[in-house]
Amino acid sequence: MSRVPFGALLRSEWTKLRSVQATWWCTGLYLLVVGAAGWLAAASTDGAAQADIAVQTALTGFGVGQLLLVVLGVLAVTTEFASGQVLVSLTAVPRRTRLLVAKTVVVAAWCVLLSAVLVVVCALAARTLTAVPGGVRPTDPAVLRTLGLQVAAAGLVGVLSVALGAVLRSTAGSTGAGVALTFVLPPAFALAGGEIASRVSQGLPALRVGQDAFLAVGTPWPVGMAILGAWAAVVWVGGAVLLERRDV
């Protein structure tokens, strides 16, 4: 008999994600926090020299809001271990890496979808509330890049969170590690000052990617994306290897 099509696994993981309340709490709060912060930031900024700077300002809420994606991604994995659900899940899908890929794709896709809606809301806020010479045009490449970068970063935060859950298995440990890596440590090292500390700050997967680094030390955006992507990839591979090797 042929293998189960990957689409079936994706449907299964989507059913799991949508059928628990935590997902909807995180989703609702994420939309609320980032959307409201975007409008507030845009409304309190009278004007900006360039459209992408106005948009960047409106995206400020992502700096905190993505913590909800960290929680969502971590819980998608750790509640399976906490409840014993993982016994049933791995009996149904004994190819463990395949299961982790499906879960990661579903969580990352949900993060991307929500963030895509939010960047449109935030861009509209900037366009409506912030005075920019020439206005905020949706076809401006600089604006599009800023928005796209944020959506991609949110997807990678989802991947990193699922991966942390797979490595650490405990909700408290994984959430703590996720918040520390993305939110607490980058500004902490930035504040510590000094050459080494600021390098470390840049090397951590901060939630805001690029020059406007939300209290952390800024980097050019390609570097920031590469760092976040590398963290997500390395931790994810570690999670897959550990999932394959360890008993449950």
């Binding site: 079936a8 696994l9 059913t15 659900q85 009996t91 149904a92 004994p94 449950v248």
Partner: protein, 300 residues
């Protein structure tokens, strides 16, 4: 069919399963017995690929479990009735499982009906009793209409009606030619359900026998006669081991019922009772596992 060859699982401080070689055949209910901590659950987890054996192999339908393409269509398992996300409804739990093996969604409603959980299908499983949890676990095991069933303590927490239901279900599944392996520590339950027994003690195989053989090995004949002393000596001459019971009857081992009747006839002894006494599974089991109980209460 489940084949275990030299299956061993050692943890840092103890050996949970020790060189276990057993074949579980289709078409009959195989009872998996053993005291707490004797390795039943570890064995089942090894079969399902959840736990990696230290050495030896476990195969289901000729292949390692992890290599089955659509495992739920081949093997149904109940490992732990509490192993599920408490915030999910019974229906969503089963739907996610069905989707993961590309099973048609109508199977979900079908198994919910089979186990009698229709009225609570859309409630979160957090509020389920142990018995409802067992029914949901059995529903999950049946979802793919599998050839092989592994059920770890499925009647634990069920009411008498539920126990009878499980017993009949296992019987039907085995009669359809499926392989059914069911663990329990409730001997009386096994006596009514299983055709074959695999008994573990401290991770080692103690017995792999048909139920009837195990019970037969511990059975005897009770015979009552107004001329008991005469009958007793005649039976002893015929090779029986005879014991006078408190109620005046004789307990005879080593001779079957027709032989005891013949001996009495030849000796010209009148009989008032002649019965085959079957040992309870409980007694047979205790005789087997007596030395292998891992956790024993010690009188102070």
């Amino acid at each position: 069919m489940i084949e275990l060859v030299g299956l061993t699982k050692a943890y840092r401080t103890r050996v949970a399963v020790d060189d276990l070689t057993v074949t579980v055949e289709p078409g009959r209910v195989t009872g998996f017995l053993g005291p707490n901590g004797s390795g039943k659950t570890t064995t089942m987890r090894c079969v399902l690929g959840l736990t990696r054996p230290t050495s030896g192999t476990a195969r289901v339908l000729g292949r390692p479990y992890r290599e089955l393409a659509r495992p739920m269509r081949r093997v149904g398992a109940l490992i732990d009735p509490r192993a599920r996300h408490p915030g999910r409804t019974a229906h969503a739990h089963l739907l996610a499982l069905a989707q993961s093996n590309a099973l048609p969604p109508r199977r979900v409603d079908h198994v919910i009906e089979m186990v009698g959980l229709e009225s609570v299908a859309h409630e979160r499983v957090r509020g389920f009793s142990l018995g409802m949890g067992q029914r949901l676990g059995i529903a999950a095991a049946l979802l793919g209409d599998p050839d092989v069933l592994l059920l770890d303590e499925p009647v634990n927490g069920l009411d008498p009606e539920g126990i009878r239901w499980v017993r009949e279900l296992l019987r039907d599944l085995a009669d359809e030619g499926r392989t059914v392996l069911v663990s329990s520590h409730l001997m009386s339950e096994m006596e009514d359900t299983a055709d074959h027994l695999v008994v573990l003690g401290r991770g080692r195989l103690l017995a792999d026998v048909p139920m009837a053989d195990l019970l037969g090995a511990h059975s005897a004949v009770r015979v009552r006669s107004p001329q008991a002393p005469l009958l007793a000596s005649a039976l002893r001459r015929a090779g029986g081991i005879v014991e006078l019971q408190l109620d005046g009857s004789l307990r005879v081992e080593g001779l079957d019922v027709p032989r005891v009747g013949d001996v009495a006839f030849e000796a010209g002894v009148r009989l008032h009772e002649l019965t085959r006494v079957t040992a309870s599974l409980e007694a047979a089991y205790l005789a087997l596992t007596g030395d292998d109980v891992e956790y024993r209460a010690v009188a102070p």
